[in-house]
Symmetry: C2
Subunit: 283 residues, 2 copies
């Protein structure tokens, strides 16, 4: 990964700031959405999208439309997930449904989903709008299938099912950050690779989370890969298997990512490296 | 209204059946959505859209895309509304959230919203996709503003606020059934008239509902225009004022609708006539 060769730096930071303003403008009159978007978040997906779009030579306008769309969908999924899972906290503060009630939080997610599609409508490369819409709906529908599968599963599933749910729930919206700029740049040939990477990254990310939280999840009876594996292994063996699985998946990602054109996936490579380091800290 | 001159009849019925199949295909793997769409519903919006599209000379393919989009959005709003209002019944059977839980019902509404936008992506007149997306998001966002206003209002509002909420909650998605085919047919000049008609029709529809239910709503403490008016009037006077207001609004609709090109709004004219008759039955 040659991060220093990227001609981005401050420019990308400016675009992130413009993306914030663009999203706020698009959901302007819905107070809960304004509050949610103002509550922080890493904007990882916007960053991936902006850097990929710039490296692929997309116009600034179109990059911003895609980054807003991807980030609005991700935030809609967080707001609805918190209602569904009755999670009380998000980003160190009250979850939106705790602050405004579940009904207003459902409205907030709905308006962010709709605003994401309106952002796609604003693409200047209008010949690409239909393709971008279809790819987006494909990802949203798969995420919802993953969420539905998770909702109807108990905590006594096998590791294969665990990975399937993690990949379906988080892979597709993560994938959009890279697949939408690639689509606009006429690189449909790479979409399968992006799907492959996003699914594996999503599972590795979830395993790393589980490595952090396995004690707490055991107490609360929440689904956790370490505790699933510990049904047939000692806890040390389970931790070892989980770590190795995450590292294996991340190496698979890294191998694919290094072949992307113009370092368009450099940001995802950085994330994979960082996640690998976090997994290794669990030794 | 010259219904007999419409060259539609069975053809329109076939298109409604095709629209049903198209919607089912688009949400195929989400069981709660399949069940909800299979539970009936008048498909009023699909009918309006199909007849308008045919009268305006749109292709069958594009008419179906628009009808599916409009009907999917309407059904998404019903499913989410029932979660938000904790309404137990819909179409004479258990509401979706009662059958599958609130979490799955939220997923169902989400996937129908997203599928509506994917239906728009399939328009063959691709030059119109961006306009149709923007008009659609404008309507969705306004509906959500109306729903949010309703959720945060108490039952002690004035009749003006009552009409504003009714118009905002139901007018915009109703409007799409006519405004989307008009947009595709290059009749953007008529959109303001459609908005005018849809807002008034939505309020008249709500008043007629309230004329049916005012006794029950009074018992339950639910918002009802008759009971609002009866704070300053006798109940007979309140009923008289409510009926007259609904009839006035419907006459306003009828006047505008008669000027639409090629009888494209004939279906809405029929609905206005039918609603007028229902209001008059309350004497």
């Amino acid at each position: 990964m040659k991060q220093s060769s990227l001609p981005l730096g401050t420019n990308a930071l400016e675009l992130i700031a413009e993306c914030e303003m663009d999203m706020q403008r698009r959901i302007a009159t819905d107070e809960p959405s304004v509050v949610h978007l103002g509550s922080g978040g890493s904007r990882t997906r916007a960053r991936i999208c902006i850097m990929a779009g710039q490296q692929l030579g997309l116009s600034k306008h179109d990059v911003l439309c895609l980054a807003s769309a991807v980030e609005l969908l991700h935030n809609a999924s967080l707001v609805h997930d918190d209602v569904q899972d009755e999670d009380n906290e998000r980003r160190g503060t009250e979850a939106l449904w705790k602050k405004y009630g579940a009904a207003r939080a459902i409205c907030s997610g709905d308006v962010m989903i709709s605003a994401a599609y309106a952002a796609i409508a604003d693409l200047r490369c209008s010949a690409k709008i239909a393709d971008v819409l279809r790819e987006t709906h494909g990802a949203v529908a798969e995420t919802i299938r993953g969420q539905s599968l998770d909702l109807s599963s108990d905590t006594d599933i096998d590791p294969e099912q665990y990975e399937k749910i993690a990949a379906m729930k988080s892979g597709p919206l993560f994938r959009l950050a890279l697949s939408l700029p690639l689509l606009v740049a006429n690189r449909r040939d790479l979409l399968k690779k992006v799907e492959y990477v996003a699914a594996r990254f999503a599972v590795a990310y979830q395993i790393n989370d589980d490595l952090d939280d396995w004690r707490q999840d055991k107490e609360n009876g929440d689904l956790n890969i370490v505790n699933l594996l510990a049904k047939n292994l000692s806890i040390d063996e389970a931790l070892y298997v989980a770590r190795n699985r995450a590292k294996y998946l991340l190496r698979k990602c890294q191998r694919e990512l290094s072949n992307f054109p113009n370092e368009s996936a450099a940001m995802v490579e950085q994330l994979a490296t960082k996640l690998m380091q976090q997994v290794e800290k669990h030794y």
